[in-house]
């Protein structure tokens, strides 16, 4: 069974080494997509045993994920995992997400920071935004997840071929729900850790960007 971890990276030179280091011990193949970084992200990633794909220009996280997924499709991956490159995810969560896929209980497993485990260092405003995002996603897509925008998810081969990201930016987290519903994929949510550091908060989406995402979704067609 071939499993690929897809890691989109944009200007993550200060974090990517630690992230890839933490993933090495899992013995899964890794696909790093350098999304037109201006810094040394690609150079650093190249020192690791990963498949490095470089976008000539910065396209956005959704587009980078789609490129990674396309590579995984060509490599005939059985499972893929989306993993952020800013160090907010924990490598040991991956196995938990893959388990239901391997047992054929789901086609796609979403990580959630709101199930069981208490997220640490989550600011009040971010909490509100994520709660609101959750219901907006529900209104638009008909799927109510406990965590609207979590970058850690695992897909089996069926989901890999069913889901195509067309939104280049951050709206992909909601777009994926559309696809799940449209293609009637079996989905599951499992608790994962999110490490909120000053760095990831700063790199993460600001509150205003959630407005952008909403508009993308409403007017996507």
């Amino acid at each position: 069974m071939k499993t690929y971890i897809i890691i989109p990276a944009f200007n993550e030179s200060s974090r990517i080494a630690a992230v890839l280091e933490s993933l090495l011990s899992l013995n899964y193949s890794m696909i790093v997509i350098d999304d037109g970084s201006a810094d040394d992200t690609a150079k650093i990633a190249a020192t690791f045993p990963v498949i490095l794909i470089r976008h000539e220009l910065n396209l956005g996280q959704g587009a980078a994920l789609e490129t990674g997924m396309e590579a995984a499709r060509q490599l005939e991956a059985d499972y893929v995992v989306h993993f952020d490159s800013d160090g907010q995810h924990v490598a040991s969560d991956i196995e938990h997400l893959l388990a239901p896929l391997q047992k054929d209980e789901a086609d796609i497993v979403f990580g959630s920071r709101f199930l069981e485990k208490k997220p640490s260092g989550l600011t009040f405003s971010r909490k509100i935004i994520l709660k609101a995002g959750r219901w907006i996603n529900y209104l638009i897509t008909g799927i109510l997840l406990s965590d609207a925008h979590n970058g850690l998810r695992a897909l089996n081969n069926k989901a890999l071929h069913a889901v195509h990201f067309r939104q280049p930016g951050m709206a992909h987290a909601s777009e994926i729900l559309y696809e799940v519903r449209r293609k009637s994929l079996r989905y599951l949510e499992l608790p994962v850790h999110i490490l909120y550091t000053d760095y990831s908060k700063q790199k993460g989406q600001g509150i205003l960007n959630s407005v952008n995402i909403l508009f993308h979704l409403l007017f996507k067609r």
């Binding site: 498949i51 220009l57 396209l59 590579a71 060509q74």
Partner: protein
């Protein structure tokens, strides 16, 4: 002819000629733009007609009617341009993705 009529008509003609010369557009677009600009020239020559038209539509003055139409026109233009940019963005994404995937040999890496 008033001073404004000279300037107005010259500007409209300039727009029309540059549009027809520079942009390869479908014939229907050219006819549409041509009609709109011809209407503009007509209104510049006979401004009192706009008043009658405005009254017919329930708008006080001809100048107001032109103003409202211009807002609608610009709104439409913004939409057209937005969808064009979106399309270009999509195409750019596809090209960059294709090129980025071609530059690595997936089969060899996989082995």
């Amino acid at each position: 002819m008033t001073k404004f009529q000279v300037v107005g008509i010259a500007s409209l003609l300039f727009i029309l000629i540059s549009y027809l010369r520079k942009f390869r557009r479908p014939a229907i677009d050219k006819i549409f733009i041509g009609l709109i600009l011809a209407m503009g020239i007509f209104f510049v020559l006979y401004p009192e007609v706009t008043n009658q038209l405005a009254h017919f539509l329930g708008i006080g003055r001809g100048a107001d009617m032109i103003f409202y139409l211009a807002i609608l026109g610009f709104g439409y233009l913004a939409l057209v341009l937005y969808s064009k940019i979106k399309k270009l963005e999509d195409q750019l994404t596809k090209i960059i993705r294709k090129q980025s995937l071609e530059s690595i040999d997936l089969n060899e890496k996989n082995a």
